[in-house]
Amino acid sequence: MQLIIENLSKTYSNGVQALKNVSLTLNQGMFGLLGPNGAGKSTLMRTIATLQEPDEGTIHFNSIDVLKQKDEIRKILGYLPQEFGVYPKISAETLLDHLATLKGISNAKERKELIKALLNKTNLFDSRRKNLGGYSGGMKQRFGIAQALLNNPHLIIVDEPTAGLDPAERNRFLNLLSEIGENSVVILSTHIVDDVKELCTDMAIINNGEVLMRGNPMEAIFSLEGRIWSKRIGKPQMADYKKNFKVVSEKMISGKPEIHIYSETPPGEDFIPAMVDLEDVYFSNIFLKN
């Protein structure tokens, strides 16, 4: 089971180049696609999900030419878009049944059991008869994953699923995701580094339409070991540091900025070695390669 993306390029009519010659090969399992907002993640996701035409390039899933045999790929696709609405006055059960029918599951009994299982799985069973309009963000997101799983998909695309969820909901959702990634190719796009860290065995970092890095998250962290340094500084000095060091990230801790810098040798000036995190991988790729 393999998804092969080759030389994918896309430029929007307003001149924004969303994808620049992207090539990726994805194998079975959870693949994390990490990048800031506007990096081209959603464009890539939608293109794989048959919702957008690239200007150039090809996508193949096993023997299916995704760009030409759209209906073939749709049959085995589970897609959870970044933002989606629902029919507000319809219950989860009804809409799932409707979607299952559209996904070709014609046997009513099968459908019923499947939906029951999915509702249980996503812990929506108790609210299955409630109108979707009343669902919270997390419930809606879980409903989204339930609908994506209706056809036992071989290719699952989840686009920014945790954005806007509170920590508890996010945890719940990630647990759910981790379970489904076993027998299919799952692409998880996110700008939250922790999502990838917690779930993925393989990942790519993408920015400005380009793949900046790809590989195993752990290996990526390992490769940065000893090159990331941190220091707490005063706000006024920030500009100086930015000029003099390769600042990978900055965050406030108790109102005071702490910066991480990239340096192959100890930078001195009271910098101490940092515990390398995937975040450092991410930021070093985003900021340093620009």
Partner: protein
């Protein structure tokens, strides 16, 4: 907060609103739409709004008012788009939290937004004002169709009519948008307003409902037409419609509605952001469990993607969307308002003289047509909604990534609407049946309901749905799609004006024509089926294109859609599309073959041109002397099922002139369906000149026909129906209910002035001078011929008819013999007295009711099921014979027949002893005790023609209608007067008065006095009734009858000279006392109107049964010229009724006193004594005199 502060805040918000709108292109587009429509409406024929003709000038203030009103109400959706959103916008763009935390006062915010938008709204609508004004100065406007320019004529309607409309509708939309925060509420409200307008438009047809209609019309269109209903051309051309009377009441009412809406908005509106909706609070679901069930195993379900499964999915989708749509509040509102409208209208369909027809199925079907507009609203609105459903809910990405073919999705959406239409049609039928039941009618023809609604109506909405899908998909912008649909509707209506008249170019042009109980849908069904195939195929091609281009996913650039379309253009789509295209082309060709090859197609401009050419080339022969027909013998074989007949026979022509004749001019039927197989003369003659284009042949006799000599003209005419025509298909020769007369189908002699173009503007376009409608009253040529023309005086007549086995064929004369031969029925009719050269041929599957009056056989040939009114017709026949023979002269024939014919036409016509009578005007009337009986009245009128026209035959000159028509009205009125109550007569005359006053306001050319009327129905029928009824009231019925008896004695059956109105007036004057001579002048010789009014009524009780009633009246008298310019008469010296009303035991009005008093001053006071308690009193209380405000004649006692 200081006033200064308020002011600046208010102004800031107002300015903000205006500035916001100023930057939006929509503002200018709307403005442009109005400007263009107004400009084009007055400068071209492309757009027609109301419009003018004849003497009504194009820039008459009333026309301007109407055009502005129509524009401002038709485009109420633009008002809703501008006024519904000012506050809504803040919510939709979710800027409300930012807006509302600012320290703004509610008052400033709301009214700032409202008035800011309102100013923009006025700007937008001022486009029409500018368009009209600018249009007036275009160099190609014709000066003789214009009044001198007056800015006020444009400004007044804009300020007094358009702006108030904008205000009240704007306020309502603003309130709805602000309080509900949903655009859909705004639209729903628009539909309700539209419904109220339609209710008003329907109520206006009934005299007694006009006040309500005038009040409730939100736009004031009906109000203005009620106010100006009796305005003459002169008034329409010169006067603006003032804010007075009903107009003022209407404007005030709706202005108040606007104010109230604003007040409610102010009090109900709250800045609070949490409040989501005024109506509902949303409930959030609270979850309790938060563990993920890891132990659940998701079963594997099988996916099937077969064609059978696709069909199943289409059905599923359709059902899904069906449920979705029917739950939409907008849908419920549209359906509900449509149904309310239908029920309201159920009270007035088929009304004639205030009497309704029975709710027969075709009347109900016509009533259901009211709902068509609502169907179209549903089509346009919900096609857009469904196409955009997923995208509006932002769930499109989920749905677009599903393994569902575009065709399946679109078909699902399409069929959901189809289901909705089917359900709605069932609902409509159900409601109709309920209405029928409530009205006590139980002949439920469910088959006919289904046949009609599931063919014509259903196909129409389905075709428009497919079109709407196509447009919505292609333009990929919901509101642009709506706008384009509306543009399409307008364009469809307009292209005929541009000369595109072939139905192959008119979308959804299949029509089943008029339903007749006699002929069903007759021959309309075949062309309907072909046009349906043609348009369905076309719409399917559109649908296929929609499938190819429907947007799926994020790509909306056309280049990408084109690329996708190419990928989607797979074999099944290709096959579907090309087969539809093939069906479209083939059916189109077949239609073309029928309409243009088998038949002739000519657009109306060409027809008019041909008519003009006829006149230009042949007018010179108009007075070429011709012989006259003295005998006609015919054999006419009718083949109803083929809509074919052959007429073979001869005329005997006699030279009644002093001079010998050498040429005979024959005018054949110029219809292309008519063929002349031969036409020969018993004397040697040759064809001298032939005008093929006009079917006009000139024969030269070798030997001149001497004065008094005769010759025989033999001919054979065939009328052939092949295939079907584009429009105007022949409804005379039909499967069941054939009815035609000789003048339209058989050869006539000489040039026919009737075939000339008559409308003056059309004549001008074709380079002809204006035409007098009739010959002058004393024109000797006119006096020498009867009303039917110069082909004959009276003739001997004999005819043999044959028709199919199941039909009865009838023509004037008595049945000599009836037999069957070759499976066809034959009838031989012969008249033993002479008749006019005007005879009918009828053939239908009849039932016959027979009766007798003295020695005269009475027969009614009617359609089975139409038994309702035939017995009252028989009564009318007997009473008419009774009255006419006693008071005028004997009946010259031994038999009288009434024959029903299909309702393609709505008239009855008197031929010698034979009266064809349309099924639409008197066979299905639901006549109660207090109702005017249309069938009775028409029967009396037509029988009277057996005297007035068939015995006393009027000359072919101005004023002849006073003899044949007005006297027939008089005769009928007298029979009715002796049959019905006074109230009923008054009711009838009230309608006659209304029709006369309305008729003169619609006069295109010039109103004539009764004695000079030029075939003007509102004069010879309606004014005739009013005037003659008043005459007999003044000089007594016996005197009028005496005059008519003498008149008939002197003028019946004369052939040397035919009588004109002056002749008749001499007899009437002879029986009129000198003291009343002036009424002859007022009633017949001039256009005289009264303005009688009761100012004050006082009553004093003198004794137990003695009351003195003092009545202050004013009376004015006017003379009007032919355009309606009125001049008051300085001297008034008339006898006019003064009357006093009390109440009888039943509580009804009862006349306590009625007597004519001499009125010789414009203000007078009368005191009369009555024995009972007086309640009302007044001048001319029974409205015998022509008075434009009849309602102020009577006043209640103070």
């Amino acid at each position: 907060m200081s006033f200064q502060n308020f002011k600046s805040m208010f102004w800031n918000i107002l300015k903000f609103e205006i500035n916001y709108r100023r930057k939006r292109p929509a503002t200018y587009i709307y403005f442009g739409i109005f400007f263009l429509l107004a400009f084009l409406a007055v400068t071209t024929d492309v757009v027609k709004i109301g419009g003018s003709s004849g003497q009504l000038k194009e820039n008459a203030p009333t026309s301007i008012t109407f055009m502005m009103l129509v524009l401002s109400s038709f485009f109420v959706m633009i008002t809703s788009a501008i006024m519904g959103v000012p506050v809504l916008r803040d919510f939709e763009q979710q800027t409300e939290s930012i807006m509302f935390i600012n320290p703004i006062k509610k008052r400033d915010y709301l009214f700032g937004r409202f008035f800011g938008s309102f100013i923009v709204l006025i700007f937008v609508f001022s486009g029409s004002f500018l368009g009209f004004v600018l249009g007036e100065f275009m160099p190609w406007r014709e000066a003789d169709k214009l009044m001198p320019f007056s800015l006020w004529n444009y400004l007044q309607p804009f300020l007094f009519y358009v702006v108030p409309n904008l205000f009240f509708s704007g306020a309502l939309f603003f309130a709805a948008g602000t309080l509900s925060r949903k655009m859909i509420t705004v639209y729903a409200q628009g539909i309700v307003i539209l419904m109220i307008y339609m209710v008003a438009a329907n109520l206006i047809s009934t005299i007694d409902n006009r006040i309500i209609a005038g009040l409730i019309d939100p736009f004031g269109i009906n109000t203005v037409s009620i106010y100006t209903r009796y305005w003459t051309m002169a008034e329409k051309n010169t006067q603006v419609v003032p804010l007075a009377g009903i107009v003022l009441a209407n404007r005030s009412l709706w202005f108040s509605v606007g104010i109230i809406a604003l007040i409610i908005t102010y009090y109900r509106f709250s800045f609070s952001v949490i409040q989501n909706s005024v109506l509902k609070k949303k409930r959030k679901i609270i979850e309790t469990i938060s563990i993920i069930n890891t132990d659940v195993v998701i079963p594997l379900a099988t996916q099937k993607f077969t064609i059978a499964n696709d069909i199943k999915r289409v059905v599923k989708l359709a059902w899904f969307y069906f449920k979705n749509v029917v739950k939409e509040p907008a849908f419920i509102v549209i359906v509900f308002t449509g149904i309310v409208l239908l029920c309201v209208n159920a009270d007035s369909f088929g009304t004639m003289y205030g009497t309704q027809t029975f709710p027969v199925t075709y009347e109900m079907l016509q009533l259901i047509q009211t709902f068509t507009l609502f169907f179209l609203i549903i089509v346009v609105f919900f096609s857009g909604e469904l196409i955009w459903k997923e995208r509006n809910l932002k769930t499109d990405q989920i749905f677009d990534a599903l393994p569902v073919n575009n065709a399946v999705t679109l078909a699902g959406k399409f069929f959901s609407l189809v289901f909705i239409y089917i359900v709605l049609i069932f609902v409509l039928i159900f409601i109709s049946v309920i209405i029928q039941t409530i009205k006590g009618y139980h002949n439920y023809e469910l088959g006919l309901y289904f046949k009609t609604l599931f063919s014509e109506t259903f196909l129409m909405i389905i075709l428009y749905t497919l079109l709407a899908f196509f447009i919505q998909v292609l333009v990929n912008h919901k509101f642009l799609g709506y706008a384009l649909m509306i543009v399409f509707f307008i364009a469809s209506a307009v292209i005929s004006n541009l000369g595109v008249e072939h139905r192959l170019f008119h979308f959804s042009s299949g029509s089943m024509g008029t339903y007749s109980d006699m002929n069903g849908y007759g021959h309309y069904i075949r062309p309907f089926i072909w046009f349906s195939i043609y348009w369905v195929a076309f719409a399917c091609v559109l649908f296929a294109v929609a499938i190819l281009f429907s947007v799926r996913g994020m790509d909306t650039v056309f280049r990408k859609r084109w690329k996708l379309a190419k990928i989607r253009f797979v074999r099944p789509v290709m096959i579907f599309m090309f087969s539809c295209l093939a069906v479209f082309i083939l059916s189109g060709s077949y239609i073309f073959y029928n309409t243009n090859v088998l038949n002739k197609f000519e657009n109306s401009k060409n027809e008019e041109k041909k008519q003009a050419e006829y006149e230009k080339q042949l007018k010179k022969y108009q007075f070429t002397l011709q012989p006259k027909i003295t005998d006609t013998r015919l054999k006419v074989d009718i083949f109803p099922e083929e809509r074919y007949f052959v007429a073979e026979g001869y005329y005997i022509l006699k030279n009644k002139n002093q001079k010998p004749l050498t040429e005979i001019h024959i005018q054949l039927n110029s219809d292309f369906q008519s063929y002349c197989d031969y036409l020969t003369f018993s004397r040697p003659a040759k064809l001298k000149e032939k005008f093929d284009k006009f079917y006009y042949n000139i024969y030269q006799l070798e030997q001149p026909l001497q004065s008094g000599d005769t010759l025989k003209m033999n001919f054979k005419i065939r009328f052939v129906t092949k295939g079907f025509v584009n429009s105007g298909s022949n409804t005379n020769i039909v499967y069941n209910g054939t009815f035609f007369n000789n003048l339209s189908y058989l050869p006539t002699l000489g040039y026919s002035a009737d075939a000339e173009l008559s409308a003056d503007d059309k004549r001008k376009e074709n380079g002809l001078k204006e035409k007098e409608r009739m010959m002058d009253r004393n024109n000797p040529v006119g006096l020498s011929q009867c009303l039917l023309g110069d082909d004959a005086d009276r003739i001997n007549f004999e005819i043999i008819l044959s028709t199919s086995k199941d039909q009865i064929a009838v023509a004037p004369g008595y049945l000599q013999k009836e037999w069957t031969e070759n499976d066809r029925r034959f009838f031989h009719y012969k008249m033993d007295a002479t008749i006019l050269n005007f005879y009918s041929v009828l053939s239908a599957h009849y039932k016959v009711l027979r009766d007798k009056w003295n020695d005269i056989n009475l027969e009614i040939y009617y359609q089975k099921g139409h038994e309702y009114n035939i017995h009252s017709m028989i009564t009318a026949m007997k009473k008419s014979f009774e009255y006419y023979t006693k008071n005028f002269c004997p009946y010259p024939y031994r038999q009288l027949r009434i024959l029903e014919f299909p309702r393609y036409e709505s008239f009855a016509q008197s031929f010698a002893n034979t009266i064809p009578f349309s099924e639409g005007i008197g066979f299905i009337m639901d006549v109660g005790n207090e109702d005017v009986d249309m069938g009775f009245y028409v029967t009396c009128h037509e029988i009277a023609h057996q005297w007035w026209a068939h015995q006393v035959t009027d000359a072919n000159v101005k004023g002849n209608g006073m003899i044949s028509e007005a006297l027939s009205q008089y005769s009928a009125l007298m029979v009715m007067k002796h049959t019905y109550s006074q109230e009923l007569m008054q009711k009838f005359l009230k309608h006659e008065m209304d029709s006369y006053l309305f008729g003169r306001s619609m006069e295109r050319k010039k109103e004539m006095p009764l004695e000079m009327c030029e075939n003007q129905g509102y004069i010879h029928y309606n004014k005739g009734s009013v005037v003659f009824f008043a005459l007999q009231d003044y000089i007594s019925e016996d005197s009028v009858n005496l005059a008519l008896k003498r008149f008939a004695k002197d003028w019946a059956f004369r052939e040397d000279r035919y009588p004109n109105s002056a002749d008749l007036l001499r007899y009437l004057e002879a029986v009129t006392p000198d003291s009343l001579k002036n009424i002859i002048t007022d009633m017949f010789k001039t256009i005289t109107l009264f303005e009688n009014k009761t100012e004050k009524v006082k009553s004093e009780k003198q004794a137990a049964s003695k009351y003195n009633v003092t009545i202050d009246v004013s009376a004015k008298k006017y003379r009007a010229d032919s355009l309606g310019n009125e001049k008051p008469l300085l001297v008034i010296n008339d006898w006019i009724d003064i009357g006093v009303y009390g109440k009888d035991v039943k509580g009804k009005d009862k006349l306590l006193y009625l007597k004519k008093h001499k009125i010789n001053k414009s203000q007078m006071t009368f005191t009369v004594t009555v024995a009972e308690k007086p309640l009302k009193a007044g001048i001319d209380p029974l409205n015998k005199l022509v008075d434009r405000t009849p309602d102020d004649n009577v006043k209640s006692v103070d």
